[in-house]
Symmetry: C2
Subunit: 345 residues, 2 copies
DNA sequence: CTGAAAGCGCTTACAG
DNA sequence: CTGAAAGCGCTTACAG
């Protein structure tokens, strides 16, 4: 019994302990752990053994303080329970892990004040960079608060007047694909239900949609353009408005999964059969839309790629590569299922 | 032009700067910021003004290093893109924010080695506590690695042989409710499709289900008990097996949303109508099950409450309240929709 | 009550 | 190449 009993809650080993254990200076060990200065094999073996023996783990706070960076990025995001954001977060987290970056979750509930607060974590050096997902891009306060932050990447939507690099899906292309698909299937009275007028993701989808309509040379009527928040409530309201129309549209382009959920709820209640009675193209395609009644045709966003690319770019910014703050558009895809009924002309 | 031009990227203000600006010692300002020592109103006004003026933000790493804690917890979780985990994470994040705790995301992809790695973040003091969500509770390595970690709360499932406090939904109750509901609707040939045999969440659901069956005094037959991972693939396999049965079960209790997705995919392909041809009760109820075809009856887990309660408990542990490491079971709820067909006896 | 000073555990410019 | 030492920016026991 010579001290072999497992002393519980022993003080954590520090670099000093490791150094002492193998008769080196802390500087040497630190350098070995970081810069990979070349050391004789025998020495490195000794260090490795000591680390294992003492269960040494570098204190990340000391490291961060000394280095002035934390190897952690923040993900500013409205609500992780929303399937779209959840998938985006999953893409981000995967890439972050690959880059050796920790990921701090910064949920905003879409409140601008919280979004701005989190910018403070950046300037306070809590995190090295920020991935910024917001639905408040039309709020001038945001662009203002963003000024001077040089390691922020906007994801999924941009902020009016901000110059930060931005990664988004090609909303315009998506709107165009959706509109074209409906037109090709013979629809001539089409409604649009989408996000807030002020958001670029939203403007893009509507713009592309209109482009498809315009291409049909006046043969197609847009019976309604209902813009509102990316929420199922907006979808429910929109559904009620559209059902009241006389005559009804034969097809709807619904520019978000979240909105489509609300819309479908009302249709179901009212006995309106999607596909048979009214055709629908959705947007996002993160939920299990293939299991819906009927399986929903949708524009699929490249969520995983969006997340990965955002991490890549913020990583570059942190390293100091001052790339031009360009906006990157990632391509979307039309996923055809059964919610669009071909109409005879 | 007396230095009034907005020098960009100015060094961040420190506590020292603030102290100097108002002619106090750093100790005084630090105490004011933390302990709320009483200071004359005039003084605190001066401090507040200086902080605003200098845009002072405490350096969290210095604080963490000095304090030996980070006011951050980690959420160890298989995959944030899974709707169930996403909802759980949302509950956790909300509560964490209320307690003033940062939330570090620790995704494991259900790999035990990664789960164990994250335990190192705890012992390395990167985070003050860990919320641990795992589907590998039957892996002895996990219980071993967990030993000595005193600020870990297990969420959603437990770990065999671990003594950490645990917050789970009442799976047994859920299984019982599901089984009883099917029996009450006249079903006599019922199948069970659930999670891995080794997991307690899974054992609970099956146990409760069997309890309901037993209560029917032999009038009900369990035609199959298919256990496997909580994955849609397992659901697809199970669906194929069940469809091959002769005669088929009239009802299935599917003990997870994820599994039910796979099951429904196959049923849809095969033209089997849920509700009409075969009744289904699901478990979790986080997806938009009400929009499925048909809307799915399910046992709803109290995800938000699970997350909140877990944060409360880890917070207590961090404070040092050494509560007994009890397991808490939160009640579930039967949500009746349209996937269970009443059978005439 | 208050301030000077030590200490948290790293990293790295600096001198040998 | 190597080590002693300063420094990162806080908190708080200690002495006045």
């Amino acid at each position: 019994m010579t001290g072999k009993q497992d002393e519980p809650a022993r003080r954590n080993a520090t670099l000093k302990d490791v150094a002492a254990a193998c008769g080196l200076s802390v500087a040497a060990v630190s350098r070995y752990l970081n810069h990979s200065i070349k050391l004789p094999r025998a020495t490195t073996d000794r260090i490795d053994a000591a680390i294992r023996e003492l269960r040494y783990q570098p204190n990340p706070h000391a490291r961060s303080l000394s280095l002035g960076r934390s190897e952690t990025i923040g993900l500013v995001i409205p609500d992780i329970a929303n399937p779209y954001f959840a998938h985006l977060a999953a893409g981000v987290e995967r890439a972050a892990a690959e880059f050796g970056l920790g990921l701090l979750l910064c949920p905003t509930l879409s409140r601008t004040d919280r979004e701005i607060d989190y910018l403070g974590r950046l300037s306070g050096r809590h995190v090295d960079g920020l991935l910024f997902v917001t639905n408040n891009g039309d709020d001038p306060a945001l662009a203002l608060a963003l000024k001077g932050s040089d390691t922020v990447v906007l994801v999924d939507d941009d902020i009016d007047g901000a110059t930060a690099p931005t990664i988004m899906a090609d909303s315009d292309q998506g709107g165009f694909l959706a509109g074209s698909h409906l037109i090709e299937n013979g629809h001539r009275r089409i409604a649009y239900v989408g996000g807030p007028a002020g958001l670029s993701s939203s403007r893009g989808r509507l713009g592309g949609f209109r482009r498809a309509i315009a291409k049909a040379n006046g043969s197609v009527t847009v019976v309604a353009e209902l813009q509102g928040p990316y929420s199922s409530e907006h979808g429910r309201n929109a559904a009620n408005q559209l059902l009241a129309l006389e005559p009804r549209p034969t097809a709807i382009f619904v520019a978000s999964d979240e909105i489509v959920l609300g819309l479908l709820t009302v249709f179901k209640q009212q006995g309106v059969k999607v596909g048979a009675d009214i055709s629908v193209v959705a947007f996002d395609d993160v939920g299990p839309l293939e299991l819906f009644d009927p399986p929903l045709t949708a524009i699929r966003q490249p969520v995983a790629a969006l997340g990965r690319r955002a991490v890549e770019r913020v990583f570059s910014l942190i390293k100091g590569d001052s790339l031009a703050p360009v906006t990157e558009l990632l391509p979307v895809e039309l996923i055809i299922r059964s919610s669009v009924k071909p109409l005879h002309r």
